[in-house]
């Protein structure tokens, strides 16, 4: 083996070990719930816990609504900026990056002050309103990922010419976006969607401070009070995230083909 290849494999091995060993250690710890033997008891306890099902179900629903809201906001915005207002793109990119530098706790305290029961928009006056506010908050947190994913997708097609070709054939904006633009950036939208899903599933700060029964606070609660179950939950969360990534790859195979992505 050439020395270059040896060092490449060694670096790869060290990198892989850095990620995999903690994961294996967590899995190994989670399987030691029964004394003297390995078992999946901790996983059985977690899956059998009605709070797990309830909070996981809640977070999945929140994630779906967040994705829908994100797509509704980001796709037309990114499209319009590419088509008509390319000069404001740096400003929009800066705005979409803000959630990365402003801590979620600051955003949620802002929400609590702005949308309390005495505000003209009293989101926090009801459970449904708070759920809506949580979804809006999640959409903001996911904005950097969703915007970049969609914008990158739009870069691969000639947005202006395709729009004009559709317009001259009689199409209106709704037809253009739903039948031409969205199908052609579907992979990008899906990438953004699954990143959003992964963020929402594990999010703690917003859900906790808005007092919603989400999976993040449940994870924290279990982690603070149990020994083996948190490890099992960590592995489950990791599996869910990786599952999302795999789904992106699978769906990419069924996406519309183009000159940029022929096979």
């Amino acid at each position: 083996m050439k020395s270059g290849k040896f060092w490449a494999w060694l670096t790869f091995g060290l990198g892989a070990a850095y990620f995999i060993i903690p994961l294996l250690a967590t899995l190994e710890f989670a399987m030691r719930m029964r004394r003297g033997t390995y078992s999946f008891d901790a996983f059985a306890v977690v899956f059998g816990d009605p709070r797990f099902q309830q909070t996981f179900g809640y977070s999945v629903m929140a994630a779906i609504f967040t994705i829908l809201l994100g797509v509704l906001i980001v796709v037309p915005t990114a499209y319009w900026i590419r088509l008509r207002m390319p000069h404001i793109r740096p400003i929009v990119e800066f705005v979409t990056l803000l959630p990365l530098v402003i801590p979620a706790i600051v955003i949620v305290f802002g929400y609590i002050r702005m949308y309390g029961s005495n505000s003209p928009l009293p989101f926090l006056a009801s459970a449904r309103g708070t759920d809506a506010l949580l979804v809006i908050g999640y959409a903001i947190l996911a904005l950097p990922y969703m915007y970049r994913a969609v914008d990158t997708g739009l870069r691969t097609i000639d947005v202006r010419t395709l729009t004009e070709a559709a317009q001259i054939l009689g199409a209106g904006w709704a037809t253009i976006i739903t039948r031409l633009i969205l199908p052609n950036v579907l992979i990008a939208v899906l990438s953004g969607a699954f990143l959003t899903f992964a963020i929402v599933i594990g999010e703690f700060t917003m859900a906790s401070l808005l007092n919603r029964p989400a999976f993040g606070p449940y994870l924290q609660n279990i982690g603070a009070n149990r020994a083996y179950e948190p490890a099992a939950l960590a592995v489950i969360t990791f599996a869910v995230t990786w599952g999302c990534m795999s789904v992106i790859q699978m769906l990419a195979r069924f996406a519309p083909k183009s000159a940029n992505r022929p096979d």
């Binding site: 395709l162 070709a165 317009q167 001259i168 009689g170 199409a171 199908p183 519309p256 183009s258 022929p262």
Partner: protein, 355 residues
């Protein structure tokens, strides 16, 4: 020209302080094939985009079939357009691309399917309906783009440099195909190009544009043989330009490099002593007087290029260069560099260029 179908009246377009189209006027007859010809940045595409509705004129009006369409949106104009970059929808098959306009218009499925088949047959690709655009060659993609533009039976067909992205061979065959389809359907067509050969070969009329203005509109024959301005003369075809000093404006007598030439035409409003530019097409010049070619200038052969069937000769008349092509005659030796020659031409072929 038949009855006016498209009328462009006094159209102007400015982007900020830059005016890209100035006082553009044109009447196009039903079924006519018009080419906008000019160099990059002359305003031809902007003018086409105003007809399509993608740009709004800063001044002037555009009428189609007698109806003012100046303020109509592109999707309300019933105009078909083919783009330089094909602009086929990558997520749709060829058949779905062609059916797109019909579907948007709410055409019943059976009728739409029949029309798609008609269009596929028209572009000679009846078996490629299920393919995706990426599976087609550039020429095939552009033919599909043409079929897609024609499927909804538009009132006008606009072609924005549709052949520019294709290789030379495909370009020639496709331009002939476009022209034959246009004639078959009798659709009024505007074709934008910067390629003079393309414009000359397929147009009923050509509008030569320069710096936002239509310098001249006429048949290919008129544009080539009777260019109205120096720009048109230079842009269309190869041209020999000779600087001359007027000796007698009324009689049309001029001095070219110390030799007197009779143009047999009144050169007013120019006056005696003024300088003018005279132009001659290479094919209008021969070595030695023949038939109508009674006008003559003494020249010196500068160089000779043997091109097989044709011999290209460059001669010097004073400081000016005059090029001409002669057929290769195997019984005659080719001209020799440095030898004296007599350049002959018909005086009426000598064009006086306006500025």
């Amino acid at each position: 020209m038949t009855e006016t179908y498209l009328s462009i009246q006094g159209v102007q377009k400015s982007f900020g302080s830059t005016t890209v189209v100035r006082d553009f006027n044109l009447d196009v007859g039903r079924g006519e094939f018009i080419s906008f010809l000019g160099p990059s940045g002359c305003g031809k595409t902007t003018m086409l985009r105003m007809v399509a509705g993608f740009e709004e004129p800063s001044a002037g009006k555009i009428f189609v079939g007698g109806k003012d369409v100046t303020n109509l949106k592109p999707n309300q104009r019933k105009v078909g357009m083919v783009f330089q970059a094909y602009a086929l929808f990558p997520n749709l098959t060829v058949a779905q691309n062609i059916a797109f306009g019909l579907r948007v218009a709410g055409t019943p499925k059976a009728e739409s399917a029949q029309r798609v088949q008609e269009m596929l047959k028209l572009i000679s690709l009846p078996h490629l309906g299920d393919r995706y655009p990426y599976q087609l060659s550039g020429g095939q993609q552009q033919r599909v783009a043409l079929a897609r533009a024609l499927a909804p039976k538009p009132r006008l067909l606009l072609l924005d440099e549709p052949l520019s992205a294709l290789d030379a061979k495909v370009r020639v065959s496709l331009r002939e195909e476009i022209r034959s389809i246009q004639k078959e359907l009798g659709i009024t067509t505007i074709f934008v190009t910067h390629d003079q050969e393309e414009a000359l070969s397929i147009s009923d009329r050509i509008v030569v544009m320069n710096n936002g203005r239509a310098d001249q509109a006429g048949t290919p024959f008129e544009i080539y043989n009777r260019p109205a301005t120096r720009f048109v003369a230079n842009f269309v075809g190869t041209l020999n330009v000779l600087e001359a000093r007027i000796l007698d404006a009324e009689a049309g007598s001029v001095d070219v490099a110390g030799q007197t030439l009779a143009l047999h035409r009144d050169l007013a409003p120019k006056r005696n002593g003024d300088t003018i530019s005279l132009a001659l097409r290479p094919e209008a010049v021969s070595l030695g007087r023949t038939g109508e070619r009674t006008g003559a200038l003494d020249a010196t052969i500068a160089d000779v290029h043997f091109l097989g069937s044709v011999i290209r000769v460059r001669t010097k008349v004073g400081d000016s260069t005059v090029s001409l092509d002669t057929f290769n005659d195997p019984t005659m030796p080719p001209p020799v560099s440095g030898a004296p020659a007599e350049l002959a031409f018909a005086p009426r072929d000598l064009m006086v260029l306006a500025d």
